[in-house]
């Protein structure tokens, strides 16, 4: 498109007056300049929504795990819900008649992802009749677009791993889902999304006298049953064994053995995280990530890095030196992210455990990680809520960064997402517009 330079946007100084009204004007200008009937595919003629369109921005945060992090004066092209091109304005060729939205000084980034959330439904996610529940599915409680997801969507959080609570050692299966309101099939990214295991303190409350040795025994017991079951099915599928008897309580282990999903592990102190690494990863070989990773658990960072266990940290991501007998740390506050990063774990991300912390405050978790010493010189704080969780939940090919071929989960934000003063203006999921900041009305 030759005339794409002919409709530069107003700068941020002009937009603060009237919310996103400027976007409308710009877009209408763009459409008029193209001389096309593109407005017909953009709903009210306001903003691009589905189909082919491009977004121009002064700054794009790519969030690739390694390599380039930002592109100034960038253009991103969306085709059929995926990113078809991204790069400097001078290098991206747009198709003829392409609708172009210029967001000016606002930043473009991938949708944010939280791997520890309990707000995908309204209660009922913590069945505690049995201590081991690998067959339970939290998907039964999902309410797409429920009231607790409105602010997260307005915060640019597009994907959550909605998981069972930590009331039992194995709470059941989580679901990876979108936060916008849609049919279940639309918002379901993957079900099961993970198996939730809780090795920390909460399941101790399940019965009087329950301690960690018995809990570890429980977990190993279920995993041995489950892995043997999954191996019988594998042998059957190879043609080496008859059809095994079906146990729906163990089916999830087939997904785990095939490494299609991982274990989200509620685990927090050194000794608990050691059990996580030794039992779930070393003994059974299942994909596993440390969820929480609080207190002194970062001291196992080297081990975690060596055996490929990522750390998704929060909501408690700092340890105060309140109990020098249990946690000798020379009087300093220790940030979990600081610890895991400095001991060599590459995949360090953040969570909210929503509603323990509000789902919409995920970016604030990453900002506080920086305050507590996490090195953000190469935008690791933003990666910790985008590409890192995407890779950890097995969606690294589809989500988490602005790379060609990935789903167009896009967020337009007024500035650095780690700065609480930045606010989200627009959100697309798979190229479909799912949130527009109402004019003069902040939802978050």
């Amino acid at each position: 498109m030759n005339d794409r330079r002919s409709h530069r946007s107003p700068r941020s100084s002009e937009k603060s007056e009237s919310g996103t009204a400027w976007l409308r004007g710009v877009l209408m200008g763009a459409v008029a300049a193209c001389g096309l009937a593109a407005a017909a595919s953009a709903g009210d003629g306001d903003l691009p929504d589905g189909g082919t369109f491009a977004i121009k921005t002064d700054k794009a945060l790519l969030c690739e795990l390694r390599g380039t992090q930002t592109v100034d004066h960038a253009v991103l092209l969306v085709e059929d819900g995926r990113i078809a091109a991204i790069g400097p304005e001078s290098e991206v060729e747009l198709p003829e008649g392409c609708e172009v939205l210029d967001v000016g000084a606002s930043w473009l980034m991938p949708g944010m992802i939280d791997l520890h959330s309990h707000v995908g439904g309204l209660r009922g996610y913590n069945d505690m009749v049995f201590q081991l529940n690998p067959g339970l599915r939290v998907s039964a409680t999902v309410r797409p677009g429920n009231a607790n997801l409105a602010r997260p969507l307005a915060a640019g959080i597009t994907t959550i791993l909605y998981i069972p609570g930590s009331g039992t050692n194995i709470g059941g299966q989580g679901i990876l889902m979108k936060t916008y309101e849609g049919a279940f099939d639309d918002i379901n990214v993957r079900n099961p999304g993970s198996l939730k295991v809780a090795q920390g303190d909460n399941p101790k409350r399940w019965a009087y006298g329950m301690q960690r040795t018995l809990m570890n025994h429980h977990i190993r017991h279920s995993m041995r049953q489950g892995k043997a079951y999954a191996q019988r099915w594998e042998a059957h599928e190879r043609g080496d064994a008859p059809t095994p008897e079906r146990h729906i309580n163990l089916d999830v282990y087939r997904d785990l053995l095939a490494e299609e999903i991982g274990i989200s592990t509620h685990t927090q102190y050194y000794q608990v995280v050691l059990s996580t690494l030794r039992i779930l990863r070393m003994e059974f070989g299942f994909p596993t990530f440390i969820d929480h990773g609080s207190f002194d658990s970062w001291r196992l960072g080297e081990v975690a890095a060596e055996i490929g266990v990522p750390a998704i940290l929060g909501p408690r991501e700092v340890m105060w030196p309140t109990n020098p007998l249990r946690f000798p740390q020379d009087g300093r506050a220790e940030g979990s992210a600081w610890g895991f990063q400095k001991t060599g774990v590459e995949l360090v991300g953040f969570n909210t455990d929503a509603g323990v912390l509000p789902q919409e405050e995920l970016p604030l978790q990453s900002a506080m990680g920086v305050r507590y010493g996490f090195d953000n010189s190469n935008m690791a704080a933003v990666r910790g809520i985008t590409i890192v969780p995407a890779i950890v939940c097995g969606q690294g090919d589809d989500l988490g960064s602005l790379e060609v071929g990935k789903l167009a989960d896009l967020v337009v934000i007024t500035g650095d997402p780690s700065d609480p003063r930045s606010s989200v203006e627009l959100v697309w999921v798979g190229g479909k517009l799912v949130y527009e900041q109402p004019e003069g009305v902040r939802l978050w």
Partner: protein
């Protein structure tokens, strides 16, 4: 510091230098936010300190040899934060909420202070240097709060500004839950009656110049010698409170909290000139029933209430996250710089402390905090804290306290 100062003095004598040689300390930063009435910002800037007081604020100046110069290139120097609604003075030992009686104008928080407790140390490392430690809101009059600084000094006498810094009243919600004189069924009307009853008795004692051991401090509130901080919530409670304590009794009342839809009373408060100390809830999703998230700090500030200030109600919000109250207020429409004033000079003025803390001005306490950047950005952290010219916290790589 005594040692250092004597060295400087000796050097000064030897050199026969100007009086400036008597300085204890010169702090030089990329930015010095004075928070004074003119909103002066010196970039770069310098603060000179002698005997714990500020003797110069402005652009960096030449200093004679022997003066200790601390240089933070890139650092932002900001006056220590002042939080008027805090409960960390007992350091987690409870004792903040005696609830045997509904009104306790004879109780004082100063007897429960554990100076230099862990929570105070962390508050210091987050740049909070002046605190009003007050009783909880379990009763209508919780008692009298203590004004103190977050020095790393275990001696109460060294940290206290005023044993009796002001009164705490709770006129909404929480005291309805307690037993007290009225037990179950205690509601706002009866709480108002209880408060007016005791206030009238104090006024009577004042008029008749009658000594009453249980009312002596309350008399000081009625005569405007001491301020009163009032726990209140929604708009109707805020107005009810302001009518009683401002219009009827003419006290130096400060509305604390003013949460939920409390901001809707802001224009009236502004008209009456009643200051607001807002927080810890600085946003409202639903009470205001207008389908949006309301940044309540921005609303109070826009209405023009005098000396709008913020609080944490620590430990409801951790004391060290005071700055974040400003950040979130800024997120939801407040002006970033105004929110810094709301944590420094505004609360100081509200409580009559502006001659000592809240801004960098000659003669005031040298409570100087150096941040790595804008204090309102969570990614910044504190590099150094001086209180009354004495270094109370210094950040070291990998050893940070907050």
């Amino acid at each position: 510091m005594v040692g250092l100062r004597s060295i400087a003095l000796v050097t000064g004598v030897l050199l026969g230098a100007a009086p400036a040689s008597a300085q204890d300390l010169a702090i030089r930063c990329a930015k010095v936010l004075t928070m004074n009435a003119a909103d002066d910002i010196h970039a770069p800037g310098m603060v000179l300190v002698e005997d714990g007081k500020i003797t110069y604020v402005g652009s960096p100046i030449e200093l004679p040899d022997g003066v200790e110069v601390v240089d933070y290139e890139g650092g932002w120097a900001v006056p220590g934060f002042v939080d008027l609604h805090t409960h960390i003075h007992t350091g987690g030992w409870g004792d903040i909420n005696d609830m045997v009686r509904s009104v306790n104008p004879d109780l004082r928080a100063c007897g429960t202070v554990r100076a230099n407790n862990r929570a105070i140390q962390i508050a210091c490392s987050a740049g909070v240097t002046t605190l009003f430690g007050i009783p909880g809101s379990g009763t209508n009059i919780g008692g009298f709060g203590v004004l103190y600084k977050s020095k790393a000094n275990p001696q109460y006498e060294k940290v206290v500004i005023a044993d009796v810094g002001g009164m705490k009243v709770a006129q909404d919600s929480n005291p309805q839950r307690r037993a007290g004189n009225f037990a179950f069924g205690n509601n706002r009307a009866s709480m108002g009656w209880i408060l007016e009853d005791v206030a009238d008795r104090a006024l009577g004692a004042l008029r008749e110049d009658r000594f009453d051991p249980s009312l002596e401090n309350l008399k000081k509130v009625m005569s405007r010698e001491l301020p009163v901080l009032i726990h209140t919530a929604g708009s109707e409670g805020v107005l009810n409170t302001a009518q009683m304590w401002h219009l009827k009794y003419g006290t130096r009342c400060v509305i604390s909290h003013g949460s939920f839809d409390g901001w809707k009373s802001a224009p009236q408060l502004a008209e009456w000139g009643v200051p607001v100390n807002h927080g810890p809830r600085t946003m409202d999703f639903y009470s205001s029933a207008n389908g949006r998230i309301n940044g309540t700090s921005a609303e109070f500030a826009a209405a023009g209430v005098p000396d709008f200030s913020l609080n944490t109600d620590s430990g409801v919000i951790p004391q060290e996250e005071f700055f974040l109250q400003g950040s979130m207020s800024a997120r939801l429409g407040g002006d970033s710089y105004l929110m810094l004033r709301a944590m420094t000079i505004h609360p100081a003025k509200t409580f009559g402390l502006a001659d000592r803390v809240g801004s960098f001005e000659v003669g005031k306490d040298a409570d100087v905090v150096v941040h790595t950047g804008d204090p309102i950005d969570p990614r910044s952290h504190v590099l150094r804290v001086w209180i009354e010219g004495r270094s109370e916290y210094e950040y070291r790589q990998g050893q940070q306290r907050f």
